[in-house]
C-alpha cells in the first residue's frame, strides 16, 4: 500500500426509509491508522450506515467524503474501499479461487493472495465450488475478497459472523496489523471485535 493518508469524513448523516427515521445527525471523521466500531441493537441501522459509507446506498441527508490529497469522487470509491457484509454473497457456481480472480485487480497481488488464503485457512479449499463451502468458510472467503486488493479503507459489517475460534483469531490478528495502515470501520456486537477499534459510535 502507498504512504498516502486518507480521511473518511461524515457530516450530519441521516437515513429515512419512507417515513421511518433510522438515524440522524451522525458526524465523525477517521484518518488512516484510525478505526471506528459501530454498535447498536438489531434494526438500529448499523448495516445501512456502513452501506452509505461504502457508497452502495445514498443517505437521505448529510454527506460522506473520502479525501486523500484531494476529494475522491464517489464513483471512484470502489477502488479505495473494501466492503463486506452478510449480504455480500460470492458466486456459488464458481470456485473460491475463481471468485478471488474475479475480484483481483492486478496480478501483483498474487503473493498477497497466497498469504491471505493461508491466514484464513482456505488454501486447501480454494478449488472447491463455493456452494460446497460451509457458512464459516464462506465468511472467510468474504473477508479475503474485501481485503484482497489492499484498499486503504475497510468497511466490515459483522466480520466475525459464523467464524469458529480459529477464524476469529485470524480476523483479530489481521485487523490488528491492518489498522495501523488503514481506516477501519466495523459494525459488530461482539465485545472482542469492539476492543480492536480505537473509537466507537452507538446507534439506536
Amino acid at each position: 500500500m502507498s504512504g498516502i493518508r486518507y480521511t473518511l469524513r461524515v457530516q450530519d448523516l441521516a437515513k429515512k426509509f419512507n417515513s421511518t427515521l433510522l438515524f440522524k445527525s451522525i458526524s465523525f471523521s477517521v484518518e488512516t491508522g484510525g478505526s471506528l466500531c459501530v454498535t447498536g441493537p438489531n434494526g438500529s441501522g448499523k448495516s445501512t450506515l456502513l452501506k452509505i459509507l461504502a457508497g452502495i446506498m445514498n443517505p437521505t441527508g448529510g454527506a460522506v467524503s473520502l479525501a486523500a490529497a484531494a476529494d475522491i469522487p464517489p464513483c471512484d470509491w470502489m477502488n479505495h474501499i473494501g466492503y463486506t457484509g452478510p449480504l455480500v454473497n460470492p458466486y456459488d457456481d464458481l470456485t473460491g479461487l475463481e471468485n478471488i480472480q474475479f475480484v483481483l485487480k492486478s496480478g501483483n497481488y498474487a503473493s498477497r493472495l497466497d498469504s491471505l488464503l493461508r491466514q484464513f485457512n482456505l488454501t486447501q479449499h480454494r478449488d472447491k465450488l463455493v456452494k460446497h463451502y460451509s457458512s464459516g468458510m464462506k465468511q472467510r472467503l468474504r473477508l479475503i475478497l474485501a481485503v484482497l486488493n489492499d484498499p486503504p479503507v475497510l468497511i466490515l459489517d459483522e466480520p466475525g459472523t459464523n467464524l469458529d475460534a480459529g477464524g476469529r483469531e485470524a480476523l483479530s490478528s489481521f485487523l490488528d496489523l491492518a489498522r495501523k495502515q488503514k481506516i477501519i470501520v466495523l459494525a459488530t456486537n461482539e465485545p472482542g471485535e469492539e476492543k480492536l477499534c480505537g473509537g466507537g459510535i452507538r446507534l439506536g
Binding site: K51, A54, I56, M57, N58, C75, M78, Y83, G85, L87, V88, N89, P90, Y91, D92, D93, L94, E98, F102, V103, L145
Partner: protein, 219 residues
C-alpha cells in the same frame, strides 16, 4: 473498462455453462414447439405471413426466460451486492448486454434452421431473411436487457418481465415479422425494416447505458 467487461463476461459464461439453465430451457422450448407445429400441420404449407409470425413467436418465447435470467439470477442468488461492489455499473450493463446478444444469436442459430426445416419454409431472399432474423434478435436482446434489470430489481420473476416487455417489444416483433415475411415473398423486400430494427436497438442501447446506474444503485 474493457478488461472489466471481459472478466464479467467470462464469469457469466462460466456460471451459465455450469448451470446451463437458460440454454436448456430455450432450446427445449424451441425444439418442442417447432416439432409440434410441424406435426400438427401434417405437411400442409402455411401462408407466408403465418410462417413468419410462428417463427417469431417461437424465437420470442424461447429467448424470454434466458434473457431475463442474466439479471434475475444475480438477485435470486444474492450476488448482486457482491457484483455492485466489485464492478462499475457501466461495465456490468455492457457485459450483460453482450451476453444477451450472444445468447440471442445462439437461439436464432439453433431455432431458425430447425423451424425452416420442420415447417417447410421456402426462403426466397436468403440474405434478407438472415438479416431480418439477426436484426430482430438484436433488437429483442437490446430491449429486454434493461427490462430484465428492472424486473430483477423489483423482485419480479419471469411473469413481470414478460408483461413489462410487451409494449416495448411490440413494434420490434411487428417489424421483424413483416421483414421476415418480405424475405419469403417473390416481391423484392424493403431494406428499411432491417435498418429500423438496427436503429431502434441503437437508440434503446444508448438510453439504457445512460440510465442503468439509476436502476442498479440502491437509494
Amino acid at each position: 473498462m474493457v478488461r472489466d467487461i471481459l472478466r464479467n463476461l467470462q464469469k457469466d459464461f462460466r456460471v451459465e455453462f455450469r448451470s446451463r439453465f437458460a440454454v436448456n430451457i430455450a432450446v427445449s422450448f424451441a425444439g418442442i414447439v417447432t416439432i409440434s407445429i410441424s406435426l400438427t400441420a401434417g405437411g400442409a404449407p402455411f401462408p407466408v405471413k403465418v410462417q413468419s409470425i410462428l417463427l417469431w413467436v417461437v424465437l420470442f418465447f424461447s429467448a424470454m426466460n434466458g434473457l431475463a435470467h442474466i439479471f434475475v439470477r444475480e438477485e435470486d442468488q444474492g450476488t448482486s451486492l457482491f457484483l455492485r461492489i466489485t464492478r462499475s455499473a457501466d461495465s456490468i450493463y455492457i457485459s450483460k448486454f453482450i451476453f444477451n446478444q450472444i445468447f440471442m444469436m445462439i437461439i436464432g442459430t439453433v431455432v431458425t434452421p430447425l423451424f425452416v426445416f420442420f415447417v417447410g419454409v421456402d426462403v426466397i431472399h436468403v440474405l434478407h431473411f438472415i438479416m431480418s432474423v439477426i436484426a430482430g434478435g438484436f433488437s429483442i436482446a437490446a430491449s429486454t436487457t434493461p427490462l430484465a434489470a428492472m424486473a430483477a430489481k423489483a423482485g419480479g420473476k419471469g411473469s413481470l418481465f414478460t408483461i413489462i416487455s410487451f409494449p416495448i417489444l411490440l413494434p420490434v416483433l411487428w417489424i421483424s415479422i413483416s421483414s421476415t415475411a418480405g424475405a419469403l415473398n417473390e416481391a423484392r423486400p424493403e431494406s428499411g425494416t432491417v435498418i429500423f430494427l438496427l436503429a431502434f436497438s441503437g437508440f434503446i442501447t444508448a438510453i439504457s447505458i445512460l440510465l442503468f446506474r439509476f436502476i442498479w444503485l440502491e437509494n
